[in-house]
Symmetry: C2
């Protein structure tokens, strides 16, 4: 379900040990609602990289919004546009001077291409200058890395050649769902963005109960039909096959992009 | 990451024990790609209810698409439109004669309102007539229930007054992430739609490895920062407060809609 604005009404009901003064204090700190949480959306991204965090943050009553590069704000989520999700961003680059939190979602080929796009890297660096937190989901870390923001930091990204990619950007791979180093928070592949968003909510509200309320609102108690979802939990043949497939695709479309063994 | 179409290329690589004949058979059965998996999107739905399954099914190479009621195909995900996600459906009602799988996402107030909308219930019943599977996410079960499709069946829905809501529709609440009864598959709140989509993938491809590959592609190995996400795992004060909040909101906007204790 969802009651975006209504979630605020929950706070008085949490009562019990919580005093009126506590309640007044249950606002995000720092106040990221002023300039908001800007999620960069672009053609070819993975829709869930962006919208998992988006919905989670919105359910927590936070001012999360989507930012596109193009003025028409129309973004399609797949490398193959005819197969993608079409969404309309809330704002375009021109309309955003700064954000309090920057979220960079990942994807595959299109994301790799953006790592070679100076305009995008410059924009990320500019948004980063005044952000409280700069974050990435999945291969969005490639963009933060290419922008030079992960140098000397601990970080994570999609499992595919994670260590090699992060080494390329001067970062140290840490195999966690999300990793914070200073104001930089990176997360593992796609669905890890939801965990990272919850971590951000817990950090901003400094409340386990508030985080739990958001989780219950999303009924976030996953139970997939088979064991899996990480390299460790997958059969080697599955992981190896996926790696071969990714290698093949990148070598075909962007030779020299992916780090070698 | 994502390689929608490319995922098919993985199959040969899965090789090992898998013969060429096996590979040729690795198509969804029944062939739900013919008329596709239609996800009903509507103003006020929870975006993640629709897009969690959407992206999961797309990553499995399935023909999933969004269907709107309106011809302009523009849908906004929040009860408060100015706060919602704006997306463009792939097709409108007029353009869809039948679907192989129907997915009905949930929401809050707007979903409750749709349970009183004869045109929507008729459309759901019509799509159901020729579907292989008819499914719901979260409070989408209210719509299936109101359409009379859950009568005498086991089902699940969002945790909020789940038992009472399903009893109202003649169904028996089963506290699982997803429940199949005949061709009807219902899932618990919001994020349970991802688990249900994986279950559908496992059912259609009859392959643990294929399901695991999709899960690895989404790096679906959740690890939230706090324990929670279900009634059982939440502090009673959190669950009770949420229930009070939901009761309050429904009684304010749609008196008489929600079942009493």
């Amino acid at each position: 379900m969802k009651f975006l604005t209504l979630l605020f009404l929950l706070i008085p009901a949490l009562s019990g040990a919580v005093t009126h003064e506590d309640l007044m204090n249950l606002k995000p700190s720092p106040n990221v609602n002023e300039h908001g949480i800007g999620i960069f959306v672009y053609d070819g991204m993975n829709a869930l990289d962006a919208l998992g965090p988006y919905q989670t943050l919105k359910n927590a009553g936070l001012n999360a919004f989507l930012i596109s590069r193009n003025k028409d704000k129309l973004v399609t989520s797949s490398d193959t546009p005819s197969r993608g999700l079409k969404l309309i961003a809330d704002k375009s680059w021109d309309e955003v001077d700064q954000v309090d939190v920057l979220v960079i979602p990942g994807g595959a080929i299109s994301t790799a291409r953006l790592t070679q796009d100076k305009e995008v890297l410059d924009w990320i660096r500019r948004m980063d200058q005044t952000s409280y937190f700069t974050t990435s989901v999945c291969t969005g870390a490639w963009l933060l890395g290419e922008a030079g923001l992960l140098k000397g930091r601990k970080a994570t990204t999609n499992w595919y050649r994670a260590k090699e990619f992060l080494a390329k950007y001067g970062a140290t791979y840490t195999n966690e769902r999300y990793v914070q180093d200073g104001k930089y928070i990176t997360s593992a592949g796609v669905t890890a963005g939801i965990d990272m968003a919850l971590y951000l909510i817990k950090t901003l509200y400094n409340s386990k109960e508030y985080t739990q309320a958001v989780m219950l609102d999303l009924e976030y108690d996953p139970k997939p039909p088979v064991r899996g979802g990480s390299v460790k939990k997958s059969k080697p043949i599955v992981t190896n096959s996926m790696r071969v497939m990714y290698d093949w695709a990148f070598d075909l479309v962007l030779p020299g992009f992916r780090p070698a063994d």
